[in-house]
């Protein structure tokens, strides 16, 4: 190295050195260099699995797998205690959906029907294209009233595209079936949306529990 180099040049040189990072080949030892032991090891592992390990294959149609509780399968529309569709047609799921597979058409709740008297808005239609859906669960996240949930139903099949477009009745029937079977209990329950959509309110005598369930 020449002594005439200025400190700046030295620094530049240092920096230059640092710009390229060499990834050294791993040093191999004698045994590794022979290859054969490693090959033998590999073969031994393979053979061990072939002959001594238990097969983990599940015979699917006969053996049904048990899905974890957060599995994201076919959607359902939940019902409230009175059997009405829980959805208030806020379009949050439709807005959140990255695949644009949800289509809601809202309508004022039938005011002359006493069953609906304490509800303002309800989904006249609620359609999900299960083929377009990517099962990301955003709709479930977005739902302020926990009306839409993804069930653990994974084996969704159909003979036509039209068949895979689920309407409100179909989605509600998914709820009826899954909740009846007890497989997919309503997982989240954040309570009422507010007085405009739900009449029942907590009584004043007991302060609401801290943390979850608080509204307002």
């Amino acid at each position: 190295m020449s002594t005439a180099e200025t400190p700046v040049a030295q620094v530049e040189k240092k920096q230059k050195k640092k710009t390229v990072q060499w990834g050294d080949d791993p040093k191999i030892g004698f045994v590794e260099a022979l290859y054969l032991p490693a090959i033998a090891g590999g073969i031994a592992t393979a053979l061990k699995h072939a002959f001594f390990k238990k097969r983990s294959t599940a015979q699917y149609p006969e053996q049904k797998p048990e899905m974890p509780p957060n599995y994201r399968g076919v959607h359902r529309l939940n019902r409230d205690e009175e059997g009405r569709v829980k959805c208030v047609a806020c379009y949050m799921c439709q807005t959140a959906c990255p695949a644009n597979c949800i289509e809601i058409i809202a309508a004022p709740a039938p005011q002359d029907d006493p069953k609906w008297a304490n509800r303002d808005k309800f989904p006249a239609t609620f359609t999900i294209d299960e083929l377009r859906c990517i099962y990301c669960g955003m709709c479930e996240e977005a739902c302020p009233v926990d009306a839409i949930e993804l069930t653990s139903i994974y084996d969704l099949t159909g003979m036509s595209r039209q068949e895979m477009i689920f309407d409100k009745e179909k989605l509600l029937s998914v709820f009826d079936e899954t909740s009846k079977a007890g497989l997919d209990p309503v997982r989240t329950n954040r309570g009422a949306l507010g007085p405009a959509s739900e009449k029942s309110m907590q009584s004043t005598d007991s302060p609401p529990p801290p943390g979850r369930g608080k509204h307002g």
Binding site: W22, K27, A33, L34, G42, I43, A46, H49
Partner: protein
């Protein structure tokens, strides 16, 4: 030659060709089945088990399915060569089988029935190599005609790979030729015969040549760990990216035919062919002996095939520079040295047994040198 002689020569040949043409595709199909089963076993799965007992008809179902698939020819390919490439590929693979005996040729049984298409050919091994080199042709044509950069990459890789591994393969087999004194595979097999049926195998005094040969042959078949021309992670599908349906099957079949060829060669050249302890080596034996010998050969071949399939799940794929390095820096020098030792022994007429020891020593020395090389290279790199 009169017509009768021609006919007498022709019909066993046609039968032999017929047998090969009939059996090889079926073997190919079932090889896939076996491979899937084997893969499943290694991966703790069951493998195909739905079609037929134990899934045995899976291969047939697959075959039917793939034959019925729609033929798609991409618009951007060179159609003629694109169509031709898989045919060439399979053709050359099948052609190589012409010189491989699948049994000891009986003399005058049924007026000349034999288990080889080209019997008594003195340069059968040479033909074998000449033809098998052609298999690169189909791949290169396919890769080029596909008009797809990944395909072309695969083709070029396979080209380099073939050229590189031809050399160690050839060198390692020269030893066998020297020992047998013939390039006729039948003679080579016969030369391995001995009283006990096992001590004459080339394996014993040329273990190194076996390793080199087998490694190189594996590389020639494009199978793991040498499947660089088609490795999915790097090149989508390599040379057959643009192929589907029956055309793809032809490539596939060619690959399996290669596997079978290689297994045959390995068995015939190093594992004593149809010789087996307790099975008389004489050709004069009865039908029973003949059948037994064929069975022995078949079992050995199947063993090698299974070993090749097992290797697929035991070893990771080479990097391309490693692949090249292995051939040029490892196998070729080793094969040369091995050949030199063998030539010396043969020319001086020494007993061959020390060759086995020498082979092992040579291998160990190469390993040690390789390790030292690696260490010193790393050291040097860190200095600069």
């Amino acid at each position: 030659m009169n017509w009768y002689e021609i006919w007498a020569e022709l019909w066993p040949t046609l039968i032999a060709i017929g047998i090969i043409l009939a059996v090889v595709p079926v073997v190919g199909l079932y090889a896939t089945f076996v491979e899937r089963k084997l893969a499943a076993a290694v991966q703790d799965r069951l493998g195909p088990n739905r079609v037929g007992p134990f899934g045995l008809f899976q291969a047939i179902a697959d075959g039917i399915k793939i034959f019925l698939k729609e033929q798609i020819i991409p618009s951007h390919v060179h159609t003629f060569i694109y169509m031709l490439a898989p045919c060439i590929s399979l053709m050359t693979a099948m052609f190589a089988l012409a010189v491989l005996p699948y049994g000891p040729t009986p003399v005058n049984y049924f007026g000349g029935l034999r288990f080889i298409v080209m019997p008594g050919l003195d340069i059968s091994l040479l033909i074998m190599f000449a033809i098998s080199s052609l298999s690169a042709y189909g791949i290169i044509l396919g890769g080029w005609a596909s008009n797809n950069k990944y395909s072309l990459y695969g083709a070029i890789r396979s080209c380099a790979q073939f050229i590189s591994y031809e050399i160690p393969m050839g060198l390692s087999v020269i030893g066998v030729i020297l020992v047998a004194g013939s390039m006729n595979i039948e003679t080579i097999v016969a030369s391995q015969g001995s009283g006990d049926g096992i001590s004459g195998w080339n394996l014993w005094w040329q273990p190194l040549a076996l390793i080199i040969f087998f490694t190189s042959a594996l590389a020639e078949t494009n199978r793991l760990p040498f499947d660089l021309p088609e490795c999915e992670q790097e090149l989508v599908g390599g040379f057959h990216t643009e192929y589907g349906g029956i055309k793809f099957v032809l490539f596939f079949l060619a690959e399996y035919t290669h596997v079978v060829t290689v297994s045959f060669l390995t068995t015939l050249l190093f594992f004593g062919g149809w010789h087996f302890p307790g099975v008389p080596s004489e050709v004069t034996a009865s039908y029973g002996i003949l059948a037994l010998q064929m069975l022995v050969l078949l079992v050995k071949v199947c063993g090698v095939v299974c070993f090749i399939m097992l290797l697929r799940w035991a070893l990771p794929r080479f990097r391309f520079d490693q692949l090249m390095g292995l051939a040029w820096k490892g196998l070729i020098p080793l094969a040369m040295l091995n050949l030199v030792f063998l030539a010396v022994f043969e020319s001086l007429g020494w007993h061959r047994w020390p060759l086995a020891v020498l082979s092992v020593l040579l291998f160990v020395a190469a390993g040690y040198w390789s390790a030292w090389q690696s260490q010193s290279f790393v050291r040097k790199a860190s200095v600069t």
